[in-house]
Symmetry: C3
Subunit: 149 residues, 3 copies
Amino acid sequence: MNEVMVRPEFAVFVVVLVIESIKALLLGAATAFNRGKIGKYLNQEDADWLGGDAVVNDDPGPGRLFRAHRNTLENLVPFLVLGMVYLAVGANSTIGIVYFAGFLLSRLAHTYAYLNRRPMMRRNAYTTGWIIQLAMAIHVLVQVIGDNF
Amino acid sequence: MNEVMVRPEFAVFVVVLVIESIKALLLGAATAFNRGKIGKYLNQEDADWLGGDAVVNDDPGPGRLFRAHRNTLENLVPFLVLGMVYLAVGANSTIGIVYFAGFLLSRLAHTYAYLNRRPMMRRNAYTTGWIIQLAMAIHVLVQVIGDNF
Amino acid sequence: MNEVMVRPEFAVFVVVLVIESIKALLLGAATAFNRGKIGKYLNQEDADWLGGDAVVNDDPGPGRLFRAHRNTLENLVPFLVLGMVYLAVGANSTIGIVYFAGFLLSRLAHTYAYLNRRPMMRRNAYTTGWIIQLAMAIHVLVQVIGDNF
């Protein structure tokens, strides 16, 4: 193990990434399952095979799961980038744990709110995760520029 | 090179990532090329520039390429996360090679099946890649929790 | 810090990733903000809460921001993969800096062109970033295969 991997914030980062990845996998499978349940597919060959209709736009049920999945990935990509960079530049450990844990809680709340049609909670959860990522970005940029230039 | 990078499963992981990235790049370019070939664009300025129509929903041809591209990225993100974590926590080397190679084969089969309208093969390939990722997730969570808490 | 993290191309890579992540975060928030400004939402509960209509397809304004966001992430994922692999296999430092800086410039130009409806500039920027990524992919594949097999 190198010296990044023995830090406590590394373990927290790993747990956040794995939970968010599992959530994304479950949302993706749920979208496909839901399409099958109501018989509305995006591909003609699926409708021919399993019985049902091919539609251009997803029905509201799978459409909601799809958007929750998409929003999870849209946030997981910059968080992955910023978290790795945060660990790599060796920024503050305690603040890192606060960022990572806060991100996980905000994203679990976002998915809960999306699937349960609670728009205010969804907006607040999205905004919280968004601010955390922006804080991480500024934090690491300041540190990288300070260390290198 | 640190000690992660000299392990054999690291080389396999790298090859899988690079091939899947190349596949994603090719699918993205093919989508754009296909839109141009049939003259159906998502942006009005493209239709004005190159001749053709601006459409709200992609035509079936580029739409299929787009969905194969999207599905590739939807799976590449959690696989990237879980594979890096798998290497970082130092989980079993042989099982790692089986996971990574199995993922690559399942994802190549998925894209083949999508582009050739073979829905049963596509579903089985998707499910195989999905189960492999879930197995990786459980594997690393068990190991991280065992090592740290 | 391990030996990857002290190389100059690592600092450039980090800056590129952080800037592209910030850009993605801003585009995502701008899309949501734009939906609110014109009162056209993708979820019925948002329309009920904030006043406005629920639409199946995004309006042209947020739709454009959404596509610029999506294209940013579609390119950030393979670039992240290929850049990390490039650093991990220890490929040429100067060429790496050229790849990374060229990618950043091409992607900033792409987003500028997308939001300002300049299709030729957008196509050229997309193609430039695409070729850089393909060059990185071939570069690392040749090196990994040469080193390992």
